[in-house]
C-alpha cells in the first residue's frame, strides 16, 4: 500500500490543471454565447425572444450530466469524430451560456426603462445603447450572481470525469483507490476546490463594493 506522497500530490495537481482549464474555457465560451442569448432574450423580435427562451429552458431544465452524455456519445453515434476536449467544452459552453444568459437577461430587464428611452432620445443606435449604456450597468449588477455561477461551474467540471476526463475529482478518486485513504485524499481534494472557490467569492464581493463606491 502506497502512502500519500509527492507523486500523488503531483497527480492531483495534474487533475487540477484540467479542472481550471475546463472552467476557463466553459466560462469564456459560456460568456460569449450567454451574452448573445441574453441579447436575444431582450430582443424586440418575438421569434428571437422565444428561441432564446427555449435554449435557456432546454439547458437549464436538463441535467448537465445528460448533456455531457448526449454531446459526447451522441456526436460519436452520428459518426462525428470529435476530440473529448471539444465535446466537453461544447457541453459546458452550452450549459454555462444558458445560465449566464438568463442571469444577464434578468439584470438587463431590471434597469429602469428610462435608460433605454434616454439613449433612444439621443438617437444612439442599438450597438452603442447596449455597449455604452445597458450592458455596463447590467453586468455590474450581475457581478455577484455571475461570480456565484463561476464558482458553481468550477465545481461542476467534476462531472466531466464521467466521459473519461481526469480532472481534479476524478484524479482524487484514482489516488484514493491506489492508497486506500479516501478520507484524507478527498479531504485534500475538497480543500483544493475550496482554495479556488472561496477567494473567487471574496473577489466578487470586493469588486462589487469597489464599483458601487465609484458610482455612488
Amino acid at each position: 500500500m502506497n502512502a500519500f506522497g509527492l507523486p500523488e500530490i503531483l497527480f492531483l495537481l495534474q487533475g487540477l490543471k484540467w479542472t481550471v482549464l475546463l472552467t476557463i474555457i466553459s466560462f469564456i465560451g459560456g460568456g460569449v454565447i450567454g451574452l448573445l442569448i441574453a441579447l436575444a432574450r431582450v430582443s424586440t423580435s418575438p421569434v428571437i425572444q422565444r428561441l432564446a427562451a427555449a435554449y435557456i429552458a432546454l439547458f437549464q431544465g436538463t441535467p448537465l450530466l445528460m448533456q455531457l452524455f448526449i454531446i459526447y456519445y451522441g456526436l460519436a453515434l452520428l459518426q462525428i469524430n470529435v476530440d473529448a476536449w471539444i465535446a466537453v467544452s461544447f457541453a459546458y459552453t452550452a450549459h454555462a451560456s444558458a445560465f449566464l444568459g438568463d442571469i444577464w437577461r434578468g439584470t438587463i430587464q431590471s434597469l429602469p426603462r428610462g435608460q433605454t428611452e434616454a439613449a433612444n432620445a439621443l438617437s444612439l443606435g442599438y450597438v452603442s445603447r447596449m455597449r455604452d449604456i445597458i450592458l455596463p450597468q447590467a453586468l455590474k449588477i450581475s457581478l455577484p450572481a455571475t461570480i456565484g455561477f463561476a464558482v458553481q461551474l468550477t465545481k461542476g467540471t467534476s462531472l466531466a470525469a464521467i466521459v473519461g476526463f481526469i480532472e481534479l475529482a476524478r484524479a482524487g478518486q484514482i489516488v484514493s483507490n491506489l492508497i486506500f485513504q479516501p478520507l484524507l485524499v478527498f479531504g485534500i481534494v475538497g480543500l483544493i476546490y475550496f482554495a479556488i472557490c472561496w477567494p473567487m467569492s471574496i473577489w466578487g464581493t470586493r469588486m462589487e463594493r469597489r464599483m458601487s463606491r465609484n458610482h455612488a
Binding site: 428610462g114 432620445a121 455604452d132 455590474k140 458610482h215
Partner: protein
C-alpha cells in the same frame, strides 16, 4: 393656415412662420385604452408650447410620440420637413432633430457628467473625444454646471442633474426640445434653477414643447397653452387668457385644483 376648430388644431399665428412640427390626426392606443384621440398640432419655429392637464390626459404620451418613444396607431408626424415612417432610419433622422428632457432625468449613472453629454456626439455624430468634450463643456457651461463635469450623476442634486440632462440634449443641437414634466421630481428649492435654465433657452429662441404645471413659467415663456384631458386637446389659448379666463369646464376645474395648492 386653417382654422377649423380651436379645440383640436393649433393655428395661432406667430412671428416666424416656418413649420417645425406637424402632427396630423394622431391616434394612440394602449391596449383598449384610447390615449390620444385624433390630435393635430402645428408648432412653428421658435414657438414655446405648454401642455397641461390632469394626469392620464395624454400630454406626456403626445410628446413621446414626437420622437417615437411611443408608436402611434395612425396619423402623421412631420418634424423639420421629415415625415416619420415606421423604419429605424426615418425614426433616427427625426430623433436627431429632437432633444428630450425627462421627469426622472435619466442620466447614465455609470458615466461621468462630461461623458453623459459627449457620448452621443461621439457615437452618433462620429466626433473624436476631445472635439465632443469641447461641445459638452460649452453646454454644461451654459446650464452653469461646468464645474461638475468630472463627477457622476449620483453626486449631484436633483436640480443639477436635470440641468445636466438639458445640456446633454442640447449637445446634439436639436431643432426642438421636449420637456416631460421636468420639475415634477424635484424638491421645491431646486425647481427655480431648472426653470431659469428653460427660460434662458426660450429667450435664445429654442422651439420648446413643455409638459408642465408651472404656471409662472407658462405665463413667462409660452406662446400657447394647450389643455388636454382624456386624450384630446380641449382648449388652446395664450397663457394669460387661459389662466385668467379658461373656457372649458374641465380646464376651469383643473386650474381650480392647481390654484388651490399654490
Amino acid at each position: 393656415m386653417q382654422n377649423t376648430s380651436p379645440l383640436n388644431t393649433a393655428s395661432m399665428s406667430v412671428s416666424e412662420n416656418e413649420t417645425l412640427i406637424e402632427l396630423k390626426n394622431i391616434n394612440k392606443w394602449f391596449g383598449g385604452f384610447h390615449a390620444l384621440k385624433d390630435i393635430s398640432l402645428t408648432v412653428n419655429k421658435g414657438e414655446r408650447i405648454v401642455l397641461c392637464g390632469p394626469s392620464g390626459s395624454g400630454k406626456s404620451t403626445l410628446i413621446r410620440c414626437i420622437n417615437h418613444l411611443e408608436a402611434i396607431k395612425d396619423g402623421t408626424i412631420t418634424v423639420a420637413g421629415k415625415e416619420m415612417a415606421n423604419d429605424a432610419k426615418s425614426i433616427d433622422s427625426i430623433r436627431r432633430e429632437v432633444g428630450m428632457v425627462f421627469q426622472s432625468f435619466n442620466l447614465f449613472p455609470h458615466l461621468k457628467i462630461i461623458d453623459n453629454c459627449s457620448l452621443a456626439l461621439r457615437r452618433v455624430k462620429g466626433m473624436q473625444r476631445d472635439e465632443a468634450e469641447v461641445i459638452a463643456r460649452k453646454y454644461l457651461d451654459r446650464v452653469h454646471i461646468l464645474e461638475q463635469a468630472d463627477k457622476y450623476p449620483a453626486q449631484l442634486s436633483g436640480g443639477q442633474q436635470q440641468r445636466v440632462a438639458i445640456a446633454r440634449a442640447l449637445c446634439m443641437e436639436p431643432k426642438v426640445m421636449l420637456f416631460d414634466e421636468p420639475t415634477s421630481a424635484l424638491d421645491p428649492e431646486m425647481v427655480k434653477e431648472v426653470l431659469d435654465t428653460m427660460i434662458g433657452l426660450a429667450q435664445d429662441g429654442m422651439t420648446m414643447i413643455c409638459v408642465t404645471h408651472e404656471m409662472g413659467f407658462a405665463r413667462k415663456v409660452a406662446n400657447r397653452v394647450l389643455f388636454m384631458a382624456d386624450g384630446q386637446v380641449l382648449e388652446e389659448a395664450a397663457p394669460d387668457e387661459f389662466f385668467s379666463a379658461p373656457k372649458h369646464e374641465r380646464a376651469k376645474a383643473f386650474l381650480g385644483e392647481i390654484l388651490a395648492h399654490n
